[in-house]
Structures are given as structure tokens and as C-alpha cells.
């Protein structure tokens, strides 16, 4: 059991859109997931089935309404759904990495430091961090001439690779990856597959959304197929629905 790094049980999530007359969207219903060290689970299913919602919930970015999300952090299983904000920040700093599709550029921070900060945040010395960061950027095809520039001016693909470099430069015990190869050419896609394989070989648990079947088959050990929960409900329908179910 001790090799379980993520155990999510019976997650449910409904969005209430107050600005649209209280419309409710049921996105997750009784979703469970277990991920062990050194393995990768791919979230699959048509769009709208809650793949991103699940991934974001596992990061504490979305709040689930029901269920628990146990994350192994420093040898203990901690429930993310009840953890205090400071605890979640610490879990994200040390244990839980998240690769989104888009880089949130910070004004004036160079590409090199965007990546190096991921290491210094975890206690690395700045000079050593910059060296490691430079090597990772180069591996993803971001040459030295770009290292000293803030990525805000980079192309979408370059920004994505900076983002990937920032994520893969650290040895995250658990990595959540959202379409890591979305706008990459085949050569860079293969490098990202390599990086994910290396992470698994180090014992990391990966949970990802991969629309590219080639990538999914190359990296996933298991596929969790999500299905549409049902529906969109107008305000007022909620109670009736619950009664029908009861």
C-alpha cells in the first residue's frame, strides 16, 4: 500500500453559475482514482466529461463538493480537501507539480529564472539552479539566446516549452500534466515523452490528459475513462433531481 501516492475517492463536483440564473453543472460524480509510484494514469473521455476539472481538483485549484483526495506528502497521506491553505502551498512546493498548457508569464522574469525558481523554491542554490535550468531549457529546444529574455514575448510553442522545462526540472513525486504536448512538433513531443518516462523511472506518479493517442500509449499504464455525468440543470431543478435520485 505504501506505494500509493494519490488516492481519490468518490469525488463529486457541481458548478453553480450564479451569473447564469444559478444554472448547475454536474461535472464529477463518484469519481475515484488510485495512482502508484512509478506509474501513469491517463484521464480520457470526450470533452466536457470533467478531465480538467478532476486534474485541477487534484491540485486543490478546484474545490470538490464531496469525496477525499489523499496525497502522499513527506510520508503521510494528507487529505487535500480538508488541508489548510498553507498546507496546500507546502504540498505544492515539495510534492505536487502541475503542468498547465499555458505559461503565466511574470513581468520581467527571464526564461532562465522562471525555470530556476522552481528549483530555488525547493531549496536549491541559485547558481546551481540556473545551470540545471539552462540544460533543461536547451533540452527542450530553447537556446541560450532566449534564456535572458522574459518569455512574455515568446511564441506560444516556446512559452509552452519554458513551462515544461519549469515542471520537469524538478523531481516531483506527483505530477499532474494537462496536454503537455499540445502544440509541440514531433521532435519536442518525443522529448516530453522521454521526460515523463524518466520521471516514472524515478518513482513519480503521473496523472495526465493526453489527447494525442500516440503520447497516451507511450506513457500511460492505465486509462481512467470519464463519462458525462448527465446534464445541465436550470436553477430550481436541483432539489427535484435529488428527490428523484433518493
Amino acid at each position: 500500500m505504501s506505494d500509493i501516492l494519490v488516492q481519490a475517492t468518490r469525488l463529486s463536483k457541481t458548478f453553480t453559475l450564479h451569473l447564469q440564473a444559478g444554472t448547475q453543472l454536474d461535472v464529477l460524480r463518484d469519481t475515484s482514482l488510485t495512482v502508484r509510484a512509478g506509474s501513469c494514469v491517463a484521464l480520457a473521455g470526450p470533452s466536457g466529461t470533467g478531465k480538467s476539472t478532476l486534474l485541477r481538483s487534484l491540485y486543490g485549484n478546484y474545490l470538490v463538493d464531496e469525496g477525499e483526495i489523499l496525497i502522499r506528502h513527506n510520508g503521510r497521506m494528507i487529505d487535500l480537501t480538508t488541508a489548510a491553505p498553507a498546507e496546500i502551498i507546502e504540498i505544492r512546493r515539495a510534492t505536487l507539480g502541475y503542468v498547465s498548457q499555458f505559461l503565466r508569464a511574470i513581468p520581467r522574469v527571464t526564461a532562465l529564472d522562471v525555470v530556476a525558481t522552481a528549483l530555488t523554491d525547493r531549496g536549491a542554490d541559485l547558481a546551481a539552479a540556473r545551470k540545471t535550468a539552462a540544460a533543461m531549457l536547451e533540452r527542450l529546444g530553447i537556446g541560450p539566446s532566449l534564456h535572458g529574455l522574459p518569455p512574455a514575448t515568446f511564441s506560444g510553442g516556446e512559452q509552452q516549452r519554458v513551462n515544461l522545462a519549469r515542471a520537469f526540472v524538478c523531481d516531483w513525486p506527483i505530477m499532474l500534466v494537462d496536454e503537455p504536448t499540445a502544440s509541440l512538433d514531433n521532435a519536442n513531443r518525443d522529448i516530453v515523452i522521454e521526460l515523463m518516462r524518466e520521471a516514472k523511472a524515478r518513482g513519480s506518479a503521473l496523472i495526465g490528459i493526453f489527447h494525442d493517442v500516440f503520447v497516451r500509449e507511450a506513457i500511460a499504464d492505465e486509462v481512467l475513462a470519464l463519462v458525462p455525468v448527465s446534464n445541465t440543470r436550470a436553477a430550481g431543478d436541483a432539489t427535484r433531481k435529488t428527490e428523484e435520485l433518493a
Binding site: 491553505p85 513581468p107 520581467r108
Partner: protein, 254 residues
């Protein structure tokens, strides 16, 4: 373990309720943003936390190393001492915090001397170092802030506030009146200095982008009440309260 805590604060201005049973906690090294529209009570909350406004009921507690104690029990002098030695306050308008007829170096040095610094040479040296830290050419140490641009004045205020090495800094719309290009520089400066110095910060802003960039945690205020709070990215990406949803959806995408 909280560094600062507010318990059940209430404040009424005539018939307007500025604070309606507000409780809040802040940990060491934590950055908390208070967002909300004008009139939501966010500035009153900041001023109450900072000891500048007395609440009608409830109290603010601070841990000076011996556990949380109410700041109302410090007396006026004790509160001043706390504000000068351990706290800092960055105003939206630097003209309200700086002395326009005192040089840049003097504005920084004054704070040091108020904190007990006596050696003139050292003070000048520290002031020059702080000018550099906020990206003002140290050769301008003897210039008057009235000759500075708005962004430079704001950076000078930041230097004059941080020179005493406070552990807690209150910020009221620190990029409020500035051009967008100047804002980015100030934000980046605040972000890196706060990290480097390990400060705890309470930041009031109506700009959600500023909150996202700087804050660990966020509270949303409306009509004197806290309507939602949590991790910054969680509240902004998965807002639950109707008002927070309105606030988040009202932002123009960059």
C-alpha cells in the same frame, strides 16, 4: 500559528457598515490579499488591522513573540512603537508617506533614525543600498522626491518602508495610480523583495491580476463582510460566491 489575527471586527461610519463581524488570520511569511469593489470595506479593514482605525467592537491581535495579544492593550505609545519597529505601511499615494522637502536619502534615513540608527555614514550607506534595491540610481540620493516620477516616488516609499526590516507590511493599492508599464515594474519589485525578506503582507487591491501575482491567500469583501476566502488560485479559478463570480468575470482578458 497566526502572526496577526482579527476577531469579530465591527465598524460603522454613520449609517454605513464598513466592517460586519470580520475575522481573519495571517501567518508569518504569508501574503494575504483583500479584494472587493470600492465601498466594500477593504480599506477600512486594512486600516483597522494596521491600528490606524479603532473598531467599534472586536479586536486585532498580534504576536510579538509571546503569543497573540490585543493591540488595543498596547496604549497609543506602544502601538506607535510596534508600527514603527515591526510593521510597515505602503500607501497608494507616495506623497502621503514621503516628505517632499526632504531628500530621497533623508526619507529613508529618517525611518532608520526613528528606529534608533545614529551613525550618519552608515545611514547614508544603507539608504544608498536601498535606493539601488528599488532601482533608483544611488547618485540621486540628495535629490528631492518632488522631482521624481510617480513610479520612482512609489519605489522610494517602498525603500523607506522596508529599510527598518519590518516583519509585517500593509499595502493599500500599491500600484493604484500608476501607468500599466510602471505597475509591472513595481509589482515585480514587491514580489521579489517580499520573497527575499520573508515578509508577511496584507494587501488591499481591486486588481485581481495583482492579487494573483502576489498573494498566497485571498479574501473577497462585499458590504463589510467577507463573502469568500481561500487559496488565491482556487478562489479565482473556482469562485463559489455570486459576487466573486461577478468580480472574476468582469476582468478583461489581457
Amino acid at each position: 500559528m497566526n502572526l496577526l489575527e482579527a476577531r469579530n471586527l465591527n465598524k460603522q461610519f454613520g449609517r454605513i457598515t464598513a466592517l460586519d463581524d470580520v475575522s481573519i488570520g495571517l501567518r508569518r511569511h504569508e501574503i494575504l490579499a483583500i479584494v472587493g469593489e470600492s465601498g466594500s470595506g477593504k480599506t477600512t479593514l486594512l486600516n483597522t488591522l494596521a491600528g490606524n482605525v479603532a473598531p467599534d467592537s472586536g479586536d486585532v491581535y498580534y504576536d510579538r513573540g509571546q503569543g497573540l495579544a490585543p493591540i488595543s492593550a498596547l496604549g497609543e505609545l506602544g502601538l506607535r512603537r510596534l508600527q514603527r519597529a515591526q510593521w510597515g505601511f505602503i500607501q497608494q499615494d507616495p506623497r502621503r508617506a514621503l516628505r517632499m522637502n526632504v531628500t530621497a536619502g533623508g526619507n529613508i534615513g529618517e525611518r532608520l533614525m526613528a528606529g534608533g540608527g545614529r551613525h550618519y555614514g552608515n545611514i547614508r550607506e544603507v539608504a544608498a543600498r536601498w535606493l539601488e534595491a528599488v532601482e533608483i540610481d544611488p547618485s540621486r540620493i540628495d535629490d528631492y522626491p518632488r522631482h521624481f516620477s510617480g513610479g520612482m516616488m512609489q519605489r522610494l516609499q517602498i525603500a523607506a518602508t522596508l529599510v527598518t526590516e519590518p516583519e509585517l507590511v500593509f499595502m493599500d493599492e500599491p500600484t493604484g495610480g500608476l501607468d500599466v508599464s510602471v505597475q509591472a515594474r513595481i509589482l515585480d519589485l514587491i514580489r521579489s523583495l517580499v520573497r527575499r525578506l520573508g515578509l508577511a503582507v496584507v494587501l488591499v487591491t481591486h486588481d485581481i491580476g495583482v492579487a494573483r501575482l502576489l498573494a498566497d491567500r485571498l479574501v473577497v469583501m462585499r458590504r463589510g463582510q467577507i463573502v469568500e476566502s481561500g487559496l488565491t488560485d482556487q478562489v479565482l479559478d473556482d469562485p463559489h460566491h455570486e459576487y466573486t463570480q461577478l468580480l472574476v468575470s468582469s476582468v478583461l482578458p489581457a
